[in-house]
């Protein structure tokens, strides 16, 4: 048994085993469980990186991993092509950073809370990675539920109001998952297969059947709920605001990306976009995306709570991904996928910083952040970088995905998308410059220190390092975006664009 050959399954297997054993080890020694989960997530990150390297070395050939040697379409397989292996690397990397970062939040709790927190965190990582790398539509449902259930738990850990947010998300999320399951039922009744590659072949004969239209509608609404596409985003601001401050960065950064990826997988790789039903579905997604961008940005302007503002800005950013998909051309597609990657980093970085402020001062009101640059100097650098990236200034990564989106709108002659993108960038500029002004220019706010700093960084070292790494990652992604697009995304394009 060699490691490289089995690397795809380790992405899921390591965190799953570790998080299930976590409580047991925490009982034996309080910190042991958390170390094991962090190590397992690190192992998953290494496996994902190995797989990505392998896929790229073979020129974009997908790696198929058959569970127990059962051949698809009967068995369940993991399929890793350039698109989803890069997303697996992204998810495991952010999970690793956030799992290290969140240790100070739970360090003083007893073994049950500490172990429980890391169990849920590891399971959330399992769910996201599994959703991304699986090649079976029903298996995707199972991972979707693992992700959601652990997500509900992590959101509910946040305190008093978080229970309500978690319960509301549970109800709405279950509607989404049930609609997805219903859609899978329609597809299975039509084609008799659950394997994605097989489905892509067999569904071609049923593209004008009403059942197919019904299945697409179910998928759009189901994934729309999970990724907080505009009119279905009701659960999201509360969930992001009240979730556990340590895990908020992971929840906000990655939890909406896996369903968005699943939507890409279904629309572009399985159904292909060149038929009437998917075409009209894309138009609907585009309209919802535009509405989401405008309304999300305007709602973000009206918030006092930093986290709530970020949550509404997420609604707008998901709108970017939606319009990128809706354009249905090469640049729009690249823009959407690149924005998924970039937004995961930007949003996680912002949530890491506000989590740090919340940890040290217990403050989340964005009008009380005056003089923060003296108190936590390094974190404000990350804050500034992430904010500039959200606005879309080069050389941060946010600029490049917007650039591809605009190129896509230009090639498709859909100029209104360009107008929407420009308006939204202006709105982004308003609400992020407001924060930069607060942090660097305003008088020092009188804040009480809940956790006096022990180091010069202003935050414990476990928290400072991930914040710095995420800030650097935003710059690195910005500088390397050309390589990501040509070497990774363009290798794994869906068949539709290759004809």
């Amino acid at each position: 048994m060699n490691f490289v050959q089995h690397a795809p399954v380790f992405i899921v297997l390591l965190p799953l085993t570790a998080s299930l054993l976590c409580l047991l080890f925490s009982r034996i020694s309080r910190n042991l469980g958390s170390y094991i989960v962090i190590a397992a997530i690190f192992g998953a990150f290494l496996s994902a990186a190995t797989v990505l390297k392998q896929v790229l070395a073979s020129g974009g050939q997908a790696i198929h991993y058959w569970m127990g040697g059962w051949e698809p379409p009967i068995g369940i397989e993991f399929v890793l092509d350039p698109l989803n292996s890069v997303l697996a690397v992204l998810v495991t990397f952010i999970a690793l950073m956030v799992s290290i970062y969140s240790r100070p939040f739970v360090k003083r709790e007893d073994w049950l809370h500490l172990g429980g927190y890391y169990t849920l965190f590891g399971l959330l990582c399992v769910g996201l990675c599994g959703m991304i790398i699986t090649g079976d539509v029903f298996n995707l449902y199972v991972y979707l539920e693992i992700m959601s259930l652990s997500g509900y738990g992590l959101i509910a850990l946040g305190g008093r109001k978080s229970m309500l947010a978690a319960f509301r998300y549970l109800l709405i999320g279950t509607i989404g998952a049930s609609l997805y399951l219903l859609g899978v039922g329609y597809l299975y009744a039509m084609t008799g297969t659950l394997n994605m590659a097989d489905l892509a072949k067999l569904v071609a004969a049923h593209l004008d059947s009403p059942l197919f239209a019904m299945a697409v509608a179910c998928f759009i609404i189901g994934f729309g709920i999970k990724m907080a596409l505009f009119p279905l985003h009701g659960w999201q601001p509360d969930a992001y605001t009240f979730s556990h401050p340590g895990a908020a960065a992971f929840i906000a950064g990655c939890m909406s990306k896996a369903p968005a990826y699943a939507m890409v997988r279904f629309l572009y790789y399985i159904f292909h976009v060149d038929n009437l039903v998917v075409h009209s579905a894309l138009n609907v997604i585009g309209l919802l995306g535009i509405a989401g961008i405008l309304i999300g940005s305007i709602m973000a302007l009206a918030q006092f709570d930093f986290r709530r503002m970020l949550a509404y800005s997420s609604v707008a950013q998901i709108g970017y991904i939606a319009i990128g998909l809706a354009m249905g051309n090469l640049y729009g597609f690249i823009g959407a996928v690149l924005h998924m990657i970039n937004h995961a980093f930007m949003k996680s970085a912002l949530f890491l910083v506000i989590g740090g402020i919340q940890y040290r001062f217990g403050e989340v009101n964005l009008y009380r952040l005056g003089g923060m640059h003296k108190k936590i100097p390094i974190s404000t650098v990350t804050l500034t970088l992430a904010a500039l990236s959200m606005i879309g200034l080069p050389p941060t990564c946010g600029f490049f995905s917007k650039w591809y989106l605009m190129l896509g709108a230009y090639t498709g002659a859909q100029y209104f998308y360009i107008a929407v993108l420009v308006i939204s960038s202006l709105l982004n500029a308003i609400y992020f410059f407001r924060i930069i002004e607060q942090v660097f220019v305003q008088r020092e706010a009188s804040l009480t220190e809940i956790q006096p700093p022990s180091t010069k960084l202003g935050l414990p070292i476990e928290m400072a390092v991930p914040i710095v790494v995420m800030g650097l990652a935003i710059l690195v992604l910005g500088f390397c975006n050309g390589d990501i697009v040509t070497d990774v995304l363009k290798v794994g394009l869906p068949e539709v664009f290759l004809r």
Binding site: F138, E145, L149, A156, F167, T174, I175
Partner: protein
């Protein structure tokens, strides 16, 4: 009458399943008590399970065991949807468990499961 009979014979069960599904959604949206919302959610999940079982059923099909008489797939009922639904039942059990745990905490914190009352106390 003829058409109605035909409809009931071929698609009637699906219509019923759809009604059950949206009854669940309706209950989740409109009931004011969180426990009732949870029960409506379960009704919705059961509707999806019924849907799978309905399209898997076949007139005159037998259970999928090898009996040495026939290997014709038309003679058997496809066991896969039932297998899938076993998983879906487990998932719905998990969801219900998490939801009930949350409801217990909500009841502890806010002292009620009525939406109006909870929102009143939460905004204080």
């Amino acid at each position: 009458m003829e058409m109605l009979n035909e409809f009931l014979k071929t698609r009637g069960i699906y219509a019923l399943v759809m009604i059950l599904f949206f009854l669940g959604v309706y209950g989740m949206v409109l009931s004011k008590n969180y426990m009732k919302k949870l029960m409506a959610m379960n009704v919705m999940q059961v509707a999806v399970i019924f849907f799978y079982l309905c399209f898997a059923q076949k007139d005159g099909g037998m259970i999928p065991i090898q009996n040495g008489l026939t290997t014709n797939p038309d003679a058997y009922i496809n066991p896969l949807p039932h297998g899938l639904m076993l998983t879906a039942i487990v998932v719905s059990l998990g969801t219900t468990g998490v939801a009930i745990a949350l409801l217990m905490r909500i009841k502890e914190i806010f002292g009620s499961l009525e939406e109006v009352e909870i929102l009143r106390r939460a905004s204080k």
